[in-house]
Structures are given as C-alpha cells and as structure tokens.
C-alpha cells in the first residue's frame, strides 16, 4: 500500500496530517468519534536530531492538551541518520527523548500505536516503533534491526551461510516474520480490510498492563529465554 492509500483507509473522512520533509504531523478522526494524534516518518528517511525533536514536540503537545486521545506513529524510515553532525550534537539524547515522550504519553493514558508500513532499522526503529505500546505492521513491511551484509561483515560468514542459519531461528535475520515471532510486532493487519476498522478494534480491545513483548516472544517460540530470565531476576530482586 502507498502512504496515500494507507491514510485514505485509516481516515476515510479525511485528516489534517501535513508533511514536513520526511516527517508527518497531524491528526485524524476515529470511527468511534474521537481523534487520534498522528506523527510519522515517511519515504524511508533516516532519523536525525532535528526531526526527532519536532516529532517529540508534537507528542508532548498532544499530552499537554490533556485527554486520552490515542497516538498513532506511522513508520517508513531508514535507520538513525549516520553523520558526524548528528553524533556531535548527541543523537542518542534526541532519539531517547522521542522514545520517552511516546512512553510518557502511554503512561498518561494515551494508547500509542506504531504502524510499520515500510522500512525501519536500528536506532530509528527503537525511538519510534519500539517505543509504542502496540506495534502493528502492514504486510510487506521490511523492518531490519541489522541488514545481512552488516552482520556478514562482523561475523565473517557469507550471506548464504547466514540465510541458511536464519532458517532455524528468528533471532537475527531481518524481516517482519522474525520480528513478529520474537514478540516485537503484536499483529500484522490485513491490507484488504479497512485500516480504520482494524485501528478501532485495536483501541477497543481490553488493554493488558505492562510490557507484553517478552511473553509474546515466548508464546510464539521466537525468544526462548527472555521472559523467564526477566521473571527470575525480578523475583530474586524482590525477595
């Protein structure tokens, strides 16, 4: 689906989302009658200091307005912007700040939803998609924590050898299926059905408190140990 098709399916009654270069800011109506705040990264843009701060500002403004409107994060990004300037200025703080604002929104009762409709990678993926409460994807999305050529370079294994290994485990190779199996992606929506309906259904579903991703990864047999290890340390620490 193109971005225009996605927005049309999410907001058949129209929206006020505007583009500022590679980022998107605005809001749209929900089926149930309320509004959803929208922020996003489009066109596979790398996320640097300037844009991260603008996105964070928009999220903060939404929190500041009060209410409990959900926040939708649309994602088709590259990785973080890899440049001397961004690192010089402290990119880690800017990306973390964006992540913190999204998590704060969620703690204040705004349901934050990430919609991964294209690519995303590395630091940009963490600061956007991974910082939302419910991450969903559209078929054809291509999240990649690390691309195989980079892994190949470090591990000194051929791409073919890595692809072979990737058949037996979802833990390292890129792709939506792997991120779903490990628990990062809650659900993949049906691009044949109304996205507005699917968004409303997600919002209407009873919320499970806390971070469910390690439990999900265990259930889906994508992350064998994380949930249990975290629980054991937790128990020992509270003892």
């Amino acid at each position: 689906m193109t971005l225009a098709e996605i927005l049309a399916s999410l907001f058949p009654a129209g929206h006020d989302i505007v583009r500022q270069g590679g980022i998107m800011l605005g809001s749209g109506p929900l089926k149930s009658g309320g509004r959803v705040t929208v922020v996003g990264v489009a066109d596979r843009m790398p996320l640097g200091v300037d844009d991260a701060l603008v996105l964070a500002g928009h999220v903060l403004a939404a929190i500041d307005e009060g209410g409990k409107d959900p926040i939708l994060v649309l994602i088709d990004s590259d990785s973080q912007r890899m440049s001397k300037r961004d690192e010089l200025l402290g990119l880690n703080e800017f990306l973390a700040h964006l992540g913190k604002c999204l998590m704060m929104a969620s703690l204040q009762g705004h349901h934050t939803i990430g919609l991964l409709y294209g690519h995303s990678a590395a630091g940009a993926f963490i600061a956007t998609a991974m910082s939302t409460q419910s991450l969903v994807a559209l078929p054809g999305a291509t999240p990649a924590v690390m691309d195989l050529p980079s892994i190949s370079k470090v591990t000194k294994l051929s791409i073919e050898a890595l692809q072979e290994k990737a058949r037996s485990t979802p833990v390292f190779a890129p792709g939506l299926a792997n991120l779903a199996q490990t628990g990062a992606v809650l659900a993949t929506w049906d691009d044949k059905r109304s996205l507005a309906d699917q968004l409303q259904a997600l919002l209407d579903a009873p919320a499970t408190p806390g971070d469910q991703r390690d439990r999900l990864g265990k259930e889906r047999k994508g992350r064998p140990k994380a949930a249990d290890i975290a629980a054991r340390v937790y128990d020992l620490a509270l003892r």
């Binding site: 200091v49 973080q80 890899m82 001397k84 300037r85 991974m130 910082s131 340390v233 620490a237």
Partner: protein, 307 residues
C-alpha cells in the same frame, strides 16, 4: 602530576576493571550480592549457532547492595565479552532488575554501561531487549526510582546502549566513556572517510568522548577514571536526579532545542566547546581530569531537571 612510582593508584581504574569488580567495588564493602550469577549458567541459547563461545553470565552482572548505606540495585556490563552487546539473556537480566526497581519504587538503580549496542548474532532479540529496557527504565523512574548511568568502559556506550543512557535520570562519564548511536566505523562505512575518519581517534573523542558529552550537556558529571570517582558521582547524582514527569520532558525538549540553536552549525567538537565558552578548546583533550572538571564547572552545570 606523575602517577605514583609504585604503579598503584589510590583506587583501581574503572576502565581496566572487570564488570563484576566494578559493581563490587562501587558499592559499600561486602554488600554486593548477585542475582542469577555465573553459577546459574544462564547463557545465550543463540551463540552456538555461530560456533561462538558463551559466557556464564552472558556479559552482564545484576544484583543489589548498598551505596553509602542506601540499598541500590546495580547492573554492570562486561565490555570485553562480545563488546558488551545486548543479547537475549543479557538484556532480560537488566529488564527483570528494572521491573523490580519499578515495583520497589524507592531503590535507585545504577547501570554501569559498557556496550557496543545490539549483539549482531542476536540482532532482533537484542534490539527488543533494548526497547524493553528503555520502557522498564521509564516505568521505574515514573514510579519514583532513580536510574543512574555510569559510562567509562572499554566498549563505550554505543547503539541502543546510547539510547538507554538517554533514558537515565542522570549520567556520569569519564574520559574513556564514549556515548553515541552510530559508532565511528559505522559512520565511515556508510558515509565515507570524508564524513568521518574512524582511525582518527582524537576526532572520535571530540565527537563522542566523555569530555565532549560533559561540555555539550549530554552527561551531568565528568569523573576521573577511578572506581572511587564513579562512586562519588553515583552518590551525588542519586541526590539530585530529576523526577520523570511532563514538566521534565518539556524542559528536556527546551534543552535540546536550545542545543540545536547554539551548536547546530558547529562542524567539530572544538567549535562546540568554543561556543560553550571554553577559551582554548585545543587544550581540552589533553587536560587532566581535575583541571577539566574545574573548567566544566565554570562553563556551567549540566541541567539536572531535564533528563
């Protein structure tokens, strides 16, 4: 100014110490106790696929103890094992600790960073762990726990580690500490040696090193490379770490916007330092710790209400 001729400093070097020694020596003598230590043999289930050796603690030590009499949780990454990178087990140990801190709500957490970011052999689960750690830090802070990051290890604090550091209540960093998202080699590989020469180590340090982070406002305190200095910093930072609320986030938004305005056009660390009010920026890299700490204090305290 010479190091003592018997070669032993008053306090061991943070950089040279192993993760478990950092945790143990940072806390009050005899108080450190580890959760799920090496004898539990909770190792990575994935490294075997790559025929790589595992480590009994998967490169991270988590536990509790006392700092100046106050009970604290502590986590220390071992930068020499797989570059201190986040794998499934490594990350989950930190997540469990932070979730406990959230529910206890009153005990500070010290995170002794020493990481290259995500462990490539476990890229997806490592990245997920980083996302979970960030959320757990935020939830712990929201509940009232103070989360202090200490950065001065061999591997620095890169990739997702840099983002986690950005969620902490406060940071102390030594000269060796480097905090960044993209490492020098990553920038060079993706953008060319003209953009960033990863072999030019003084460039690396003026772009992401401890002194730069302190002068930029990316870390509250700069400390000498000793365990005692980090201990003193941790005690001080727990005292003045900010709460996690909307006012703080707005203050951070303003702080970062101000940074872009002040330094956004700077081409190099030297320009940033000049702009920040350092008279002779060229002297900064060679400056001994005590002298630099005095300079940094003159330039201005890091804002403590905006992280």
């Amino acid at each position: 100014m010479n190091p003592p001729t018997d070669g032993r400093r008053q306090s061991p070097s943070w950089y040279e110490s192993a993760a478990r020694d950092r945790a143990r020596l940072l806390l009050d003598a005899g108080t450190f106790a580890e959760f799920l230590g090496p004898e539990a043999r909770e190792m990575s289930p994935h490294l075997g696929i790559f025929d790589l050796p595992r480590q009994f603690d998967d490169g991270i030590v988590v536990g509790h103890g006392k700092l100046a009499g106050t009970p604290v949780f502590v986590a220390a990454q071992e930068g020499r094992f797989m570059g201190g990178a986040f794998g499934e087990v490594h990350g989950a140990k930190l997540v469990g600790l932070l979730r406990a801190a959230r529910d206890v709500a009153t005990m500070p957490v010290l995170i002794l960073f020493d990481t290259g970011g995500v462990r490539l052999q476990e890229a997806n689960v490592g990245e997920l762990a980083i996302g979970e750690v960030m959320r757990a830090v935020i939830e712990a802070r929201r509940a009232g726990a103070k989360v202090i990051g200490l950065v001065g290890g061999r591997a620095g604090c890169y990739g997702g580690g840099g983002l986690i550091a950005g969620t902490c209540s406060a940071l102390a960093v030594s000269e060796h500490g480097r905090i960044a998202v993209s490492g020098p080699e990553v920038i060079e590989t993706n953008r060319g040696v003209e953009e960033f020469d990863s072999k030019d180590r003084s460039l690396v340090w003026r772009t992401m090193g401890g002194k730069h982070r302190r002068l930029l406002g990316g870390a509250e305190l700069f400390v000498d490379d000793t365990i005692d200095a980090f201990r003193a910093a941790a005690i001080a930072l727990i005292e003045r770490a900010p709460a996690f609320d909307l006012a703080m986030l707005k203050a951070e938004q303003a702080r970062l916007a101000e940074r872009l305005k002040r330094f956004g056009k700077c081409a190099d660390g030297l320009d940033v330092w000049k702009q920040a009010g350092v008279d002779d920026p060229a002297k900064v890299p060679g400056m001994p710790a005590d002298e630099f700490i005095a300079l940094a204090r003159r330039i201005g305290e890091g804002r403590h209400d905006a992280r």
